[in-house]
């Protein structure tokens, strides 16, 4: 069994190695990469089966490969584990990952660097699996940074485009802020617990810090006039780490730009898996978060605020992928808010269903982009439903699932979060999230109308349906988006039971009235969005304004710019940094550093120039000097013997 769980991350890693060192042909690369991830999925299924056959309280397998770091009291084993929470994450990563790999074979066909692409993708899956399977924070951090690296490499995959390179750097730099906090959190955890392990290594091993959170109960740290609880400090630092990776306010600015990467990458990394790393982290370290009432408030409000900001931003985008990107940020906000309210199961549930239908939406959007010859501006689309029937139908299913229409996957998971907010008295949060969910329905209606209905506004291309290697994954994901909600139906609540050993949560009550109102609202707003943009289709011009702009005015501009958060950073942090760089590059380096270096060189050059006159090249002059030297030596000896 231990061998089995090691196979899960190792199979994609073997694929990575093969793609890096052995494979040179595009076709082999795609097949090997997809095959390895699919095999990992099968292994994960078997592992889940084994896990299910164990008694609920013993469902955790820990396996240590070797002592990774062993210096004095700081000991970190290279250990992975497999428990119910990891299991569902691994299933999502390998399952959706395999489908996206297959889809990539079609999408990336003809690209000059396909082998490299699949190598990165396999490395990403490996790192993501290490992230969710790690039994200590440091190994989790390895995966965390590994997926960050792959994200960087894949966003900048088409590095010939300047925007891609810049977006890659932006994603990396913004993530550094969160990662710095993550490292601080790790140091704090080691200081107070003396270990980074989550759980004990096997029977009788030392307990991990998640099993000993009680140790720091009531412990305070900081200046005397304002001490804070240690649990608050640690969990808040972890929260900052999560906001970086999961693109939460105020660090979500990198995710929309990350759409410069290939679309399957957006689907895998920036929708389904990597960006959920922060949510997974919070769910995994749930005991720490629950221990701090203060941090939980912050988590809730950051999540809700992000959901609303990104939801409104998504409404005003023209780029097909940016709509989905802001939508992803918004849905991640839902999950984070759910974590903050203590509804961890709901958060994971939404994470899983969102992973499926958002991957579906991204892949379908990729199919649209593929079929329209790299068109991303929705103003140039329209009326594609006849040319791309499969893409249209699967996209519609994804959109309905995201909008939260009964009985698709998104309805169940979103409803569980909203129900928890109502049921536990988080009324302001509930109102924000409810409004956001209405916005979600609206912008999905808008997007479907803009892409598939009306007439084609840009006649310069002939849309065509994508090949089967791309549409089959779409259909599979669409089926998942329809039935995905079944894993945690209100009465059966399989997922809640499955996660009970990890998250210790009881199933929430199903709120029929809420479900009814939410569905009616979603249908209404979705229809409204569709109606506005189909009836006003004639008014949409390429490069023109949105029809709603006439009524809303500049608020629409603000939404399109995501409330100017990006520009704020641009004007403050980035501009200041650019000034500093400019000063260093134009003044300090050429005059200060170069001046010093060149000055030293010039000094010795001048010295040498004046001294070279001594070297006349005339042997007789040397002999003369030699004679002088001889005389001096003899004179000195005479003076000594005097």
């Amino acid at each position: 069994m231990e061998l089995l769980i090691w196979l899960i991350p190792l199979l994609p890693f073997i694929g990575f190695l093969l793609n890096v060192f052995v494979i040179r042909r595009e076709r082999t690369a795609g097949l090997v990469a997809s095959g390895m991830v699919a095999a990992a999925f099968v292994v994960t299924l078997i592992a889940v089966g084994v896990l299910a056959s164990m008694p609920p309280e013993e469902r955790r397998i820990v396996s240590t490969a070797w002592e990774w770091i062993n210096t004095g009291s700081f000991q970190v084993p290279f250990a992975i584990m497999f428990d119910p929470l990891t299991a569902v994450m691994a299933l999502l990563i390998t399952g959706v990952g395999a489908l996206i790999h297959v889809y990539s074979i079609g999408y990336m066909h003809g690209d000059p660097r396909v082998v490299r692409y699949f190598a990165y993708l396999n490395l990403f899956v490996t790192m993501m699996l290490f992230l969710v399977m790690a039994n200590n924070l440091l190994l989790l951090f390895l995966g965390w940074e590994g997926v960050g690296l792959c994200s960087f490499l894949l966003i900048g995959f088409w590095f010939e485009r300047k925007t891609a390179g810049e977006a890659a750097v932006k994603a990396f730099v913004v993530n550094r802020i969160g990662d710095a906090a993550f490292i601080l959190a790790m140091l704090a955890i080691f200081t107070y617990f003396g270990t980074l392990n989550f759980y004990s290594e096997g029977e009788g091993g030392a307990l991990g810090f998640l099993e000993r959170v009680g140790d720091i109960a009531g412990l305070r740290v900081g200046p005397n006039w304002q001490p804070i609880f240690v649990s608050t400090a640690i969990s808040f630092l972890l929260l900052i780490g999560a906001t970086g990776k999961s693109a939460q306010f105020p660090l979500f600015v990198w995710l929309p730009d990350a759409m410069a990467g290939p679309t399957p990458v957006s689907a895998l990394i920036h929708a389904a898996t990597m960006v959920t790393g922060g949510v997974y982290l919070m769910a995994r370290t749930e005991p720490l978060f629950v221990a701090s009432f203060t941090t939980q408030g912050w988590v809730t409000w950051i999540g809700a605020l992000t959901a609303l900001m990104a939801g409104t931003a998504a409404m005003a985008q023209w780029d097909i992928k940016r709509v989905l990107a802001y939508s992803t940020v918004s849905q991640l906000g839902f999950m984070v808010a759910a974590c903050g309210m203590g509804a961890y199961v709901a958060a994971i549930f939404h994470l899983l269903t969102h992973g499926i239908f958002k991957a579906l939406l991204f892949l379908a959007a990729g199919s649209v982009i593929h079929g329209t010859h790299d068109t991303q501006d929705m103003r140039r689309m329209g009326g594609l439903k006849d040319a791309m029937p499969v893409t249209f139908r699967t996209y519609l299913i994804g959109a309905l699932a995201l909008a939260g229409i009964f009985p698709l996957a998104g309805f169940w998971s979103k409803d569980e979060i909203l129900a928890h907010a109502v049921g536990h008295g988080h009324t302001p949060i509930f109102i924000i999230l409810f409004i956001t969910s209405l916005f979600t329905a609206f912008y999905m209606g808008r997007q479907v109308a803009l892409i598939f209905f009306g007439t084609q506004r840009d006649p310069s291309y002939h849309p065509h349906e994508s090949p089967q290697v791309m549409t089959v994954p779409l259909i599979v994901l669409a089926v998942g988006a329809i039935i995905g909600g079944a894993i945690n139906l209100p009465v059966l609540h399989w997922l809640t039971d499955w996660l009970e050993p990890v998250l210790h949560e009881q199933a929430g009550e199903f709120n029929l009235w809420l479900a009814l109102i939410a569905t009616i609202g979603a249908v209404g707003m979705g229809y409204l969005g569709w109606w506005i943009y189909t009836t006003n289709a004639a008014k949409i011009k390429i490069g023109g304004k949105d029809p709603i702009y006439r009524y809303s005015g500049d608020i629409w501009e603000g939404m399109a710019e995501a409330w100017y958060l990006d520009r704020l950073y641009q004007r403050t942090v980035v501009a200041g940094f650019e000034r500093l760089s400019d000063f260093l590059a134009r003044v300090f380096d050429p005059q200060g550093v170069d001046g010093l270096v060149m000055g030293v060189g010039r000094f010795f050059g001048g010295l040498a120039n004046s001294l070279r006159a001594v070297q006349t090249g005339y042997v007789r002059t040397y002999a003369l000097v030699f004679t002088v030297g001889v005389l001096l030596v003899i004179g000195f000896m005479l003076w000594i013997a005097r």
Binding site: L624, L631, I634, G635
Partner: protein, 168 residues
């Protein structure tokens, strides 16, 4: 008697050396140097070193000077100093230095204590070439062999240096 012989020989040696120094023609220089070497050979004889006298005449005056003359004539380098001296400024300086060197070496050479004149018995023993020969083949056997080796290397070196059609 001996002193007069010494003075004449010394005068010849100095004249030969100075003439070598000032001759414009390298062949003349070589011949004056030959004269100087011969005078020094005679001085060796005066100093009870008959073996060195022979060596001086055969090796120096005979072999080495012939080599010099041969090379001068081979290269046609009798007169190379017809062009103006580019570093003429160093001539007075050289004379000054020469004077200083002379003064210093005289001071050094005459500074040592003088021994009483040796007995004639010992002097005869000293001047016997057999003594020198015995020393060469006993105590100085290794340097002797090494010298032979050096000569061999010199021969090979000369051949290699003047090989035609080969870059060194």
């Amino acid at each position: 008697m001996e002193l007069i012989l010494f003075l004449i020989t010394a005068l010849i040696a100095i004249v030969g050396a100075v003439a070598m120094l000032v001759s414009r023609n390298a062949v003349h220089s070589a011949l004056f140097l030959l004269l100087n070497f011969a005078a020094i050979a005679v001085l060796f004889l005066l100093l009870q070193a008959p073996f060195l006298f022979t060596i001086q005449l055969t090796v120096y005056a005979g072999a080495i000077m012939v080599l010099f003359l041969f090379v001068v004539m081979l290269l046609g380098a009798e007169k190379v100093e017809d062009t103006p001296d580019r570093i003429a400024w160093q001539q007075p300086l050289a004379l000054l230095l020469g004077l200083a060197l002379l003064v210093v070496s005289v001071v050094v050479g005459l500074g040592g204590a003088t021994n009483p004149p040796p007995e004639s018995e010992a002097l005869i023993q000293f001047s016997d070439p057999r003594t020198l020969g015995a020393l060469l083949f006993t105590d100085y056997l290794l340097p002797f062999e090494v010298t032979g080796f050096i000569l061999l290397i010199a021969v090979i070196g000369v051949v290699v240096l003047n090989q035609r059609g080969r870059k060194i």
